[in-house]
């Protein structure tokens, strides 16, 4: 049997776990591991400029590919810098393994240099964590970490390794476990057949159904099954922010995103529905609005792999615990067996209603905002231009704020894993590093980071990483010289007192900044230049291009749910309610 040091085992175990790329940043407690990394070629390491970005990049890689993302950081500040990234992945159920160096075992608890109790600090935001105390345990622990991260409801797993455990002079036998079995962890994959049957029957009997699908469908690669079922039933489909792309946005049956900034037709259909079929969604507060007023007439069918998501916020009448793929497959086969068909007349009437809502107040049947002209560029039109230029086929990462909502509303995602954003935690600074992860996974693809001048400055240092690894991301900066979403809330709730949301005079020259990093900067101030500049941007295939687009700062995101109301209670624009 081969004998390796703990540091070598870490890297070898990553290789044996199928890992090809690790995002990270070295430091004292991780140096034995970094030395082992240097002496091999199987695992490529990408050096970021801040550990938060390492985790976001691994996260973007994972979201776009479905594989587990991997990050490597040192102890203390390296570990704590990774925390925001870990929390982001945790909230969106993204499988990651984050390996952190730790001070030597003998120094743990001594307030040693760069010591942080990483297992303790990360505990509430990980699926699981390990502190490895013996070199002999590293391989098995890493195997378990990948297994836990990627099965059941996925999530980040932290592996904290004290420096002495990776000692290059202490060699131990290496063996990669052929399989992982844990008596305390056996996720349920297959739904209970009786429950699935009830679900199908209820769904078939619906007169005003809505299929409400979330990020779980994307994580579990169940898009195909979802489309099959929805199209067979001819039922309307709405996606959550995390679920965009699971059902093709350009299809007739798609009624748009639901929730706080969801479409009028999706939110109203939810409110009036008699059956809601929730699949891989978790009734987040950004969807439901006031829980007491939530969908008063609906029977709720809820499929989720995580039992704690079921009946947590909204009571499910027919709960099914299982993976989206396996339950949807079973539903399709039960629907085949049953002789029942949906009530065609009722469904036709339901569609007539929905189509009327679309025509009257939908954002896709008419422009519900003032048109752009001259030096007033509407942010919505930027997303439309981006959509047109990339033919709807780009990977779009996003930061957090108004630009995120505009992108979610106006970029019509027809495929899963194309829309990559921090939905649960709402992490500003996510977009650029996440785009690096996506571009690494798909070197030939168009990858655009839709951001704002606020968010981009939270991880802007990664422009340097893009140079080092030739990651030709296109940055679409919707620059409104203000923290737009904060400003919108201050307009709506605080009589336009812009407390700490303005910084216009101190913003950098983004074009010069991009150029300083060796990239291309393009500034757009006039609407008539938008399309052409967008073309110019994407024509530069091998370059990072930073498009700094000055957009209308007074624009708000609409529709917007009225706080304390039902799902269907919406502001449609500054003057009008639903």
């Amino acid at each position: 049997m081969e004998h390796l040091s703990g540091g070598e085992i870490v890297i070898r175990a990553l290789k044996d776990a199928g890992v090809k790329h690790v995002w990270g940043y070295p430091g004292g407690a991780a140096l034995h591991i970094y030395d082992a990394l240097y002496r091999q070629e199987d695992v490529e390491h990408l050096l970021v400029r801040h550990e938060q970005a390492a985790v976001h990049a691994a996260d973007g890689f994972s979201r776009s590919t479905g594989e587990v993302g991997t990050a490597l950081v040192t102890s203390g500040p390296g570990a704590t810098n990774a925390i925001t990234g870990i929390a982001t992945a945790y909230m969106d159920s993204i499988p990651l393994v984050v390996i952190s160096g730790q001070v030597p075992k003998i120094k743990i608890g001594q307030d040693a240099f760069q010591e942080t109790d990483m297992v303790g600090v990360s505990r509430p935001i990980v699926k699981h964590s390990f502190l490895v105390t013996r070199a002999e345990d590293i391989a098995e622990t890493i195997a378990k970490a990948y297994y836990i991260a990627s099965t059941g409801r996925p999530g980040p797993v932290v592996v904290d390794i004290p420096k002495d455990v990776t000692d290059p002079n202490h060699k131990v036998p290496y063996e990669w476990p052929s399989s992982v079995k844990m008596r305390s962890y056996q996720p349920t994959n297959k739904g209970h057949r009786g429950q699935v049957k009830r679900a199908v029957k209820t769904l078939l009997a619906a007169k005003k159904p809505v299929i409400y699908s979330g990020g779980g469908v994307i994580i579990d690669n169940a898009s195909e099954q979802l489309i099959k079922l929805a199209q067979r039933l001819n039922y309307p489909v709405t996606n959550t922010l995390m679920g965009l792309g699971a059902y093709p946005a350009t299809d007739r049956q798609f009624i748009g995103m639901l929730g706080m900034h969801g479409t009028f037709e999706a939110n109203t259909a939810m409110h009036e529905a008699d059956v809601i079929f929730a699949v891989g969604a978790r009734f987040d507060d950004r969807v439901t609005n006031d829980l007491d007023k939530f969908c008063p007439n609906a029977t709720i069918i809820h499929i989720d792999v995580d039992p704690t998501s079921i009946s947590k916020n909204i009571n499910a009448h027919i709960p099914v615990v299982g993976t989206c793929t396996s339950v949807l497959n079973e539903m399709l086969s039960i629907a085949d067996e049953l002789d029942t068909k949906p009530d065609a007349k009722a469904i036709k009437d339901w569609w007539a209603k929905i189509d009327q809502w679309r025509a009257d107040k939908g954002i896709y049947t008419a422009n519900r905002y003032e048109p752009s002209s001259g030096d007033v560029i509407k942010p919505q039109d930027v997303i439309k231009a981006l959509y047109k230029e990339t033919k709807g086929d780009a990977f779009i990462t996003s930061d957090v704020g108004q630009h995120q909502m505009f992108a979610a509303q106006y970029y019509m995602f027809d495929k899963p894993r194309r829309w990559i954003n921090s939905g649960g935690l709402g992490t500003m600074g996510f977009g650029l590093p996440a785009a690096m992860g996506v571009q690494l996974a798909y070197p030939e693809a168009q990858v655009a980071c839709v951001t704002g001048e606020g968010s981009i400055q939270m991880c802007i240092q990664e422009l340097s990483t893009c140079s080092q690894y030739n990651l030709p991301i296109k940055i679409i900066n919707l620059n409104n010289s203000a923290l737009g979403m904060v400003r919108q809330w201050q307009d709506m709730n605080y009589s336009s007192r812009y407390s700490q949301s303005l910084y216009e005079d101190s913003l950098p020259d983004f074009v010069a900044l991009a150029e300083a990093y060796g990239h291309v900067g393009i500034k757009v101030t006039r609407y008539e230049d938008l399309e052409e500049k967008m073309r110019e941007c994407f024509a530069l295939k091998d370059r990072v291009v930073f498009m700094d687009i000055c957009v209308d700062k007074s624009e708000h995101v609409y529709p917007m749910q009225i706080p304390g109301g039902s799902m269907g209670d919406l502001y449609l624009n500054k003057a009008e309610k639903s």
Binding site: R123, K127, S129, T308, S311
Partner: protein, 164 residues
């Protein structure tokens, strides 16, 4: 309603902190908590009591079950069960009359005096939490110096058992 939740947990470092952390993180209260290894020393048995309605209890059980280190979780209050708690009480007892009264009180509650000095009695008592509360009420006026309670341990009645 009071809930007694029983958990079989991997006997690993950090496992207990995950359980306790979960309660803090999700806004649940822990009223009592006991934990010790079982006959199988790879396993810990943990019993905790909390207050909550059915929906909350269901969430707590599900959330506990979701922790990777937990193997089994049961809400004992759902079925017939036995609940026991151990209490040690040190009581002021220098006056002979009070010493006699205290002894008879201890007998009524089926406790034991386990330590004696010229001025104190230390009493050991087991039973469900209500019984221990009742004893405290009974001797409060005599003068309690110190109370130590183990927290609740529980087991289900009949053929049901919690084991890997």
């Amino acid at each position: 309603m009071k809930r007694i939740i029983s958990i079989l947990l991997e006997n690993e470092s950090g496992a207990l902190s995950r359980v306790v952390g979960l309660f803090a993180q999700r806004g649940y209260n822990i009223d009592t908590l006991t934990v010790a290894p079982t006959d199988d020393d790879t396993l810990s048995r943990l019993t905790l009591t909390t207050e909550g309605d059915d929906q909350m209890a269901e969430q707590i059980v599900k959330q506990l079950h979701k922790l990777i280190d937990t193997i089994k979780v049961v809400d004992l209050t759902v079925g017939s069960h036995i609940e026991r708690e151990l209490m040690l009480v040190k009581i002021k007892a220098s006056d002979p009359e009070i010493r006699a009264e205290l002894k008879s009180c201890v007998e009524i509650f089926r406790g034991h005096v386990v330590d004696v000095t010229a001025s104190t009695y230390t009493v050991q008592l087991t039973g469900d939490s209500d019984k221990l509360d009742a004893f405290i009420d009974a001797v409060r006026e005599i003068g309690i110096m110190e109370v130590v309670r183990s927290g609740v341990s529980g087991i289900s009645r009949g053929d049901k058992f919690l084991r890997v």
